[in-house]
Subunit: 363 residues, 4 copies
Amino acid sequence: MSSIFGKLFCVSTWGESHGTGIGAVVDGCPAGLPLSEADIQPDLDRRRPGQSALTTPRKESDRVTILSGVFEGKTTGTPIALMIPNEDQRSHDYSDMQSWYRPSHADLTYDLKYGFRDFRGGGRSSVRESAARVAAGAIAKKILLQACGTEILSWVSSVHEVDSQVDASTVTFASIEASPVRCPDPEASLLMEQTILAAKHDQDSVGGVVTLLVRTPPVAIGEPVFDRVNSNLARAMLSIPACKGFELGSGFAGTRLRGSQHNDSIFFEGGAYHTRTNRAGGTLGGITNGEDIICRVAFKPTATISQAQETASREGENGTLSAKGRHDPCVVPRATVIAEAMAALVLVDLFLEQRARTGMFGK
Amino acid sequence: MSSIFGKLFCVSTWGESHGTGIGAVVDGCPAGLPLSEADIQPDLDRRRPGQSALTTPRKESDRVTILSGVFEGKTTGTPIALMIPNEDQRSHDYSDMQSWYRPSHADLTYDLKYGFRDFRGGGRSSVRESAARVAAGAIAKKILLQACGTEILSWVSSVHEVDSQVDASTVTFASIEASPVRCPDPEASLLMEQTILAAKHDQDSVGGVVTLLVRTPPVAIGEPVFDRVNSNLARAMLSIPACKGFELGSGFAGTRLRGSQHNDSIFFEGGAYHTRTNRAGGTLGGITNGEDIICRVAFKPTATISQAQETASREGENGTLSAKGRHDPCVVPRATVIAEAMAALVLVDLFLEQRARTGMFGK
Amino acid sequence: MSSIFGKLFCVSTWGESHGTGIGAVVDGCPAGLPLSEADIQPDLDRRRPGQSALTTPRKESDRVTILSGVFEGKTTGTPIALMIPNEDQRSHDYSDMQSWYRPSHADLTYDLKYGFRDFRGGGRSSVRESAARVAAGAIAKKILLQACGTEILSWVSSVHEVDSQVDASTVTFASIEASPVRCPDPEASLLMEQTILAAKHDQDSVGGVVTLLVRTPPVAIGEPVFDRVNSNLARAMLSIPACKGFELGSGFAGTRLRGSQHNDSIFFEGGAYHTRTNRAGGTLGGITNGEDIICRVAFKPTATISQAQETASREGENGTLSAKGRHDPCVVPRATVIAEAMAALVLVDLFLEQRARTGMFGK
Amino acid sequence: MSSIFGKLFCVSTWGESHGTGIGAVVDGCPAGLPLSEADIQPDLDRRRPGQSALTTPRKESDRVTILSGVFEGKTTGTPIALMIPNEDQRSHDYSDMQSWYRPSHADLTYDLKYGFRDFRGGGRSSVRESAARVAAGAIAKKILLQACGTEILSWVSSVHEVDSQVDASTVTFASIEASPVRCPDPEASLLMEQTILAAKHDQDSVGGVVTLLVRTPPVAIGEPVFDRVNSNLARAMLSIPACKGFELGSGFAGTRLRGSQHNDSIFFEGGAYHTRTNRAGGTLGGITNGEDIICRVAFKPTATISQAQETASREGENGTLSAKGRHDPCVVPRATVIAEAMAALVLVDLFLEQRARTGMFGK
């Protein structure tokens, strides 16, 4: 297992779907940051299941407790332990999954790797694990906001075949959260909702794409050549369950342009450099140039569906499984919050590293 | 800087475009592997510039020397230092670039970050740096081939608006290398070649997409939740200069399917589990399931073009730059080799980590 | 903060003296190890305060709970979260320490570093933090015992000016634990006890030396040149509060011998290499040679004493502090357990790394 | 192998005794530092063999070349590759050592670990490897001096049974270097010299102790609980070949004092906190308090001696070896330079980490 993320802002996560709870230890948070559970709970509320008919009916209040590292309302620079108890565990729902591997789920590969697994609700491979990341990410978000004025937003830009039109320069948190699918294009939002409910009705699932936007990111962060902002963001996003793709700025579409069309012209104004366009998506050579970071993240349709599916068992029989248990017909609306958390963890880590060496000898 | 990649097979790279050379130190290579320069040179030859009219006219023989870690033809388990001297450096070509930032290049961001940079040929941000990765990757490839029979292939699947048809189940190394653009679809190859030459003629550039295929990968490797095979591959690919996107298996297109269409049915046969389709792209829950790993990697059009472009200077003037110097009109054919190297580095690292804990207590 | 230890068996600790509790997350434990709280509690019981008149009167039951990573009595390969609640917290005892820095304690340096600290009972710098290490170390010990038959013992070899005579080749766990100061030389044990009680009576404290012995260590572990068994052991021991020195095998005394007297002759017998003497202390070139690992660890007298001491305040006044609160007149008897835990963490980490690359190509 | 040291100032070393050379890649050096070979060569000259009759007769000029990372006399923030060619290699001298294991040397353990080794001159386990550390350490020293005014000194405080009297508060670099054994007590120096020559005459060797002193260290550096200044120094020193012990401040002798005698009284004067004594040795809770760091490092007598010694062969025969080849009768005078380099690497790494998080929220 490698459940530790980050070099200077280091998050160690633990917990399974049906264990006692989910948690994280954050090592390396700067001292003096005002912090309480109230800074973390809102993102957990946005991530938690049971918010609407579009999500799994599992009921979790996801109440976080800070166990260490905060004294008299401020961080002390020591490790911050976060814990979220599990509440609604119906282990009986998952009994079949002890033997039969759900197609396109991690059941088989965890068994191949570990030879022994907690099969209840997917165990460690459940998306429930992401609650710990969201909690840690909320701290990272607060650091970025307070230290740099950085804002991280994300929304659902497509679900199945429904695309949306969203203006990244004007979109607001409120407009995103006003939509039950977190799509700030009201028309598309309605269609997406219908698409998800139709899939749910058919005991099926759908996928989609999340757009992530970082406004006013810290400038000049990113450590070439291997800890680029873009490469670490890609890793972070692909570590979210069900993620199948990542693109920054112009992405795959940009491969169909010529250099003269694709390049972002630079100009100097008001004491800083800017670009007329932002096909780069906010980084050059892996380092932020001060423009917004913008990327798109692909999520496959939920693997767990209630329809009968051909599969094999732990004992090597071939047969059919109709997955019981509760699951989201579409993970994408909840995935936005996880994507924001992971982006915050990447950025705060590289921001701290940039501080380590800046301003020593001249610059 | 973070020029170190990997945890157990750890590669530390160094070198700039116009310095004395480029190199890498590989720490953690298992002992007893037969190794000589002849194992590494072929990949360097595939990567090096000056191969055809499609690439930069810079002439580099890119001869690698092994400086340590190999004794009597075998690795000793100690660090392997690799060095590739620079030969064809025309620093005078780059004098303009001292002051004017090339649009969509790392000139500006390196200056923002470090305050001081080697401007000759892009310095450290030059794609020349990738020679060190290719050299180290060749060792990783040999380990994977000898220990697991793993084969890593890659080809150009699109250039600008030219797409290709390639059957991943039958494509061969020979068919890829027979094409000057490394596209094994002969018709598409011809069109791609014309597209690149047309862009070159117009002092312009084009981008494209590389497909990477790993046959017979080690099974059960990948360390959830943050060192998944897919997340580490994404990071590795996005660390290649000009890379803007990554998708695994069904990728972005898969977001438009329903779960019942997307899931890969499992069956047991011949003592192992297989899937009827491979939309997963070879990993589930971040762990290899034994199917081929297949992914696609997007590269933007080369940023450096000779056309006049609007930009700003180090001193804050706004003006125009016509980049001199030598550059590829399309980096994609050479990028295939770099993508293979990075994939090999990711896989061998996770393969070693899997070995560390396997077979201790029962499984 | 850097509260994470290990590369492949990775322990992340958290908690303060007077917070909600103390804990650790163990990432990288191999799957299939039988594990329950009963494997961990005995070492916590040996470490916990309040065992006798020789230790601090603070009463802590130190009951550990496994929160994740174990299913049906076996480890699953996923992170193991451990938690130990704090019970006996008397914050009022420590009110003075908010302003006045205890001499030779971390109060001042935590303030210099973080600017803000949990002053109650030393906060994070309290030896209470070591409970988390002991819990994680108990898992490491079990792995080493089950996988390699390795036994880790430690005892108090001196207290203040009282030295002991202990035969490392015959000493047993029972003989050590039979002594209230953990010194298996009964005569010395009695004198040590008297020495500690005399210091306590004088509102003073004493230091001492712990000897650590590893029988049947894994052979050929240790990663030269920087992750040697000896260097990582030294780091681990010096990370224990109050530790001031470390020596392996002949140590400082060995510097007074000639090479011909110091060298350990090698012989081959029964299919393995052995040495006639063991001045090396079990490692050569940083790699275990199969002989016992033996080292000595120095602990200064407890810094917190009730006598009036000259010191300065947070506000920069110079004055006098008579430390209230509860503390050990001698930490050495309890330090043995911590030393064992740290040794186990070092060894299991290097043992896993050795497994990663062994047996690939010939050997 | 783990030949990489440091987290933010990261040094990757390579090379064997009889290969092409020795080198290091320094990743993470801040940009803008004036640097040339002339900053590095003096320490290499102090370390190199052949300086006097007291050292091995091997002749190496140890000329270092900077291959990357420096442009127009300043560091660029990119990796700095350093290379030192091997010159005086007499491989024929070492032919016996292919079969017979030198007692108390790493020959046996390298064979146990890797199954295959470069036996010429000890290969990677030769003290020649330390040239790379000294080169990298010279850069670290310059950073500390320029950024913090930190001075690192070390001297030989004992050889075999000869002890010295040195006043750490007044000792100078010149007084140390004036002694051929690097002992600034002239009387002791003479006796040490005689002791070493006598051992050499007897085909024997002697050990000794190095004292390391860091004046004006950066304040408040060190990352509890595992990356303490003292624990990382201990690891660094124990990673030097032949090192058997480490003690900080009062060390082992301090265990024989009472707390009231051992504690260092604090006082505030001139805007800063100071201590009346320095038994702590410069760190409290693993964090520097601004006092000098002072520690002692034990080195065993050189293992390679020309006297006949009982040992076993690779093939499992028992017999006798009279080691040929060239070796130091006492490594301690040259070890001082290596100890300084390792201390500098530890301190600069923790200094950079301290900068990463300081001054963000209040302090």
